[in-house]
Symmetry: C2
Subunit: 218 residues, 2 copies
DNA sequence: CCTGTTTCCAGTGTATGCAAGAATGTGTCC
DNA sequence: GGACACATTCTTGCATACACTGGAAACAGG
């Protein structure tokens, strides 16, 4: 993907760790030893520490002074709170986007949606997850507010692990795509409030699917 | 205030710099030399670098690889975008808070509002600014969603410089307090949508006052 | 066997040193 | 006089070294 060799060492470490956390490779609560991480990347502790600081401010890890860093502890309550924020953030974005997207942006969104039909039919979860990201990102950009879009991306990034879990429930991709269709309809009708409501419902359904997945796993 | 001697050196530097940026003591675009900052705090470059990394992830400064850090550049567009996000965030909080605050929380909010009358009458801007923070923070906590409250606090923190500017417009504190009264009414009536609308108006008025202040200064 | 104390060590926090890249100034050529 | 190439200097990025703290392990007393 991106050429990491040009980046600073601390950036490469930060991106790699963020990736491992959001994909779930590094489980919640795991301790992060600076020396150990440094060895893994062939780096000293200095760039590792800088990476950890940044991950801490983005909320992916928690740093306790003189006691090291751990992957952010996720209680069911915390997750529920994050899902609510996420739903409201998405609702805000789609409401603004409905009123502000250009005709070109609107048709690009429709094309994206149409292209996703094949992925659902083929049951390709990874492809659909990638599409999902692009669909929502197109809505963020439709707000024509860079600050809001950046915040939305950061929040979505942080919830990546849960989103993928949720899509694995049987039949969920089909439903998810149908919900996207409703979002698109509301946007095309120019009804921002309706689009926001549909988005809250979409996010709620995703959240419920995730809860069921977690229940069934335990 | 807080006993800084117990904190880590890097934390003290981070807090001090954040304070200087949010109060406007460090103007937008100013270059931040690591060695120079270190000398100022009697520290080496290591803790300074860690502080800078964190400030960068919170958006207060921008780091250009191998080219140092500068206080985040604020174009009028960026500021407008941030104000919109801020208004929507506050609107979200007050809507949720209206439906979720306990009677005790509600009466605490009313008492806060009543106490602010004297500050406005005395023309004490600093005291009113502090009250303002507490009033809005009580609303954040009224959401009973820690994640949303934390995001709201972070956003408000970042806009601190603008808020204080805005309150210096003659007559603004009186109007601000009157608007708070309307917010309180909507909360007491349990009308979350109305509270959200009143909050957007409140934030819009604050933003307009700030624009006028900036215009008159230049 | 349990509890409170002491010791020790793994791991973090900070300072310093060195190397590489960016910014700046100087000289030469047109 | 202006533009480009080169050298110099300044700053950042990373590595290493040392100091300090928190917590586990060992130990003594009940």
């Amino acid at each position: 993907m991106t050429d990491t060799s040009a980046l600073l060492l601390s950036e490469r470490i930060r991106i790699a760790l963020a990736d491992e956390i959001t994909t779930g490779a590094l489980a919640s609560g795991v301790a992060l030893d600076e020396q150990q991480i440094g060895d893994r990347f062939g780096a000293s502790r200095t760039p590792v520490r800088e990476a950890l600081r940044q991950l801490a401010s983005s909320g992916l890890i928690e740093m306790r002074p003189r006691r090291g860093a751990i992957v952010a502890a996720m209680t069911p309550d915390t997750i529920a709170d994050m899902f609510e924020m996420s739903a409201e953030m998405e609702a805000l974005c789609i409401r603004l986007a409905t009123y502000r997207m250009t005709p070109i942006e609107r048709s690009a969104l429709r094309r994206l949606h149409e292209a996703s039909e094949a992925m659902v039919a083929a049951g390709d979860i990874d492809a659909y997850d990638t599409f999902n990201l692009r669909f929502h990102q197109a809505i963020y950009e439709g707000t024509h507010n860079r600050f809001i879009a950046a915040q939305a991306v950061a929040l979505r990034e942080r919830m990546a692990a849960f989103r993928r879990t949720q899509l694995r429930e049987s039949g969920r991709p089909v439903k998810s795509r149908a919900e996207h269709g409703q979002l698109l309809d509301a946007i095309m009708r120019g009804d921002g409030e309706e689009a926001a409501k549909a988005m809250r419902a979409h996010m709620f359904n995703a959240s419920s699917a995730m809860e069921r997945m977690i229940q069934s796993q335990s």
